[in-house]
């Protein structure tokens, strides 16, 4: 039974019922919120364009492949399976791209294999750092993001090493 699929409907129902009891104008409130949502997208869109142009060029140019093959011996040394190297490299850039790699690994190696389980842990413990930083700071003028980005990448990478290590036992 997939009980995770019930989380969201229950959440929505309880929000509506709670608002109803508190006599909140649900129709007006929802419309107001939706408007805010549209404004958010408008302010985020230019940054999305920039990040996606960068990501696309990064993979088309073959630089991503070069980085992967350059880092492979290093990854091997740290106990990261070579097969998931593309996932580790691409994850900070693109959520949909890394999701494609993940499902690819599932069909290649079987969903319950060590490699797939590693890939899952890596996928779950990291985020699309460049996307998140571009979007979160889209309404802020000052953008000194180098330090937080480097910290995020370093922690995510070390947790990848850690994830591959614990997947051997768990």
């Amino acid at each position: 039974m997939n009980y995770i699929s019930y989380i969201l409907p229950i959440l929505f129902i309880s929000i509506i019922i709670n608002a109803w009891i508190k006599k909140v104008k649900i129709y007006d409130g929802f419309a107001k919120g939706a408007l805010k949502g549209f404004q958010t997208v408008t302010s985020v869109l230019p940054y999305l364009a920039v990040v996606f142009i960068m990501t696309e060029l990064f993979s088309v140019s073959g630089v991503s492949k070069a980085v992967i093959s350059f880092l492979t011996p290093f990854f091997k040394f740290l106990g990261i399976p070579v097969e998931i190297a593309p996932l580790v490299i691409l994850k900070p850039f693109s959520g949909s791209g890394s999701l494609a790699i993940l499902t690819d690994l599932f069909s290649k190696f079987g969903v319950d294999s060590y490699i797939s389980r590693c890939a899952c842990a890596v996928f779950g413990s990291s985020e699309t750092t460049f996307y998140v930083s571009a979007v979160y700071f889209s309404k802020v003028k000052e953008k000194r993001l180098t330090r937080p980005i480097i910290i995020s990448l370093v922690s995510t990478f070390l947790s990848t090493v850690f994830a591959c290590f614990i997947c051997r036992f768990l």
């Binding site: 107001k32 949502g37 920039v50 630089v63 899952c120 979160y136 802020v140 910290i151 995510t156 947790s159």
Partner: protein, 184 residues
């Protein structure tokens, strides 16, 4: 961000030009096209989430949530006003539940409010926590595993949780270490 973007973009353009000069422009347009598609999807997603969120806010639910998380938020971010605290609370709890759709709008607002208070460190920390991904429930991964007929789709729960706790803790620690160091 400017430096990182410039370096990656420049190197990528140079290499693409060497391999196939015709592809430089088309790759960029393709990337921009993807962002437009994503933008349209986001419009739909945010319309739903922000709508519900507004109702939750109007009925005082967000207030309750932030009361619950207040000690932690005060300790880590030191926000000065309530609104900011609420947004951080929504962002953190949405990220914890693996609901990126709801986390992003509140993340943007919280970052803006923190920066308005001249609390740049707090904004950086929020970004670090979001991008080291504090997920309790790896909802996406579990549902894909189910689609692939995994024998035990929830098997990944523990390693994922350990890894994500590890990366977030490390991120927060590094933040507090380098914060002092950056100010000197």
């Amino acid at each position: 961000m400017n430096l990182i973007f410039t370096v990656i973009l420049l190197i990528s353009i140079i290499f693409t030009a060497i391999i196939n000069p015709n592809e430089v422009l088309s790759a960029m347009t393709e990337g921009a096209g993807k962002s437009v598609t994503l933008g349209i999807n986001l419009l739909a997603i945010y319309a739903v989430w922000s709508g519900f969120l507004q109702i939750a806010e109007d009925s005082g639910l967000c207030e309750k949530l932030s009361k619950l998380l207040r000690p932690l938020i005060k300790l880590l971010f030191k926000p000065k006003n309530k609104d900011c605290e609420n947004q951080i609370a929504i962002n953190l709890s949405a990220n914890l539940l693996g609901m990126g759709g709801i986390a992003t709008p509140s993340g943007i607002d919280a970052t803006k409010l923190l920066c308005d208070e001249r609390n740049y460190d707090g904004a950086c920390l929020l970004l670090i926590i979001a991008s080291t991904s504090i997920q309790i429930l790896p909802t996406t991964v579990v549902s894909i595993r189910q689609n692939f007929n995994s024998l035990s789709p929830f098997d990944i729960f523990l390693p994922s949780l350990l890894a994500t706790v590890f990366s977030t803790t490390l991120g927060i620690t590094l933040h507090f270490i380098t914060k002092k160091w950056a100010k000197k």
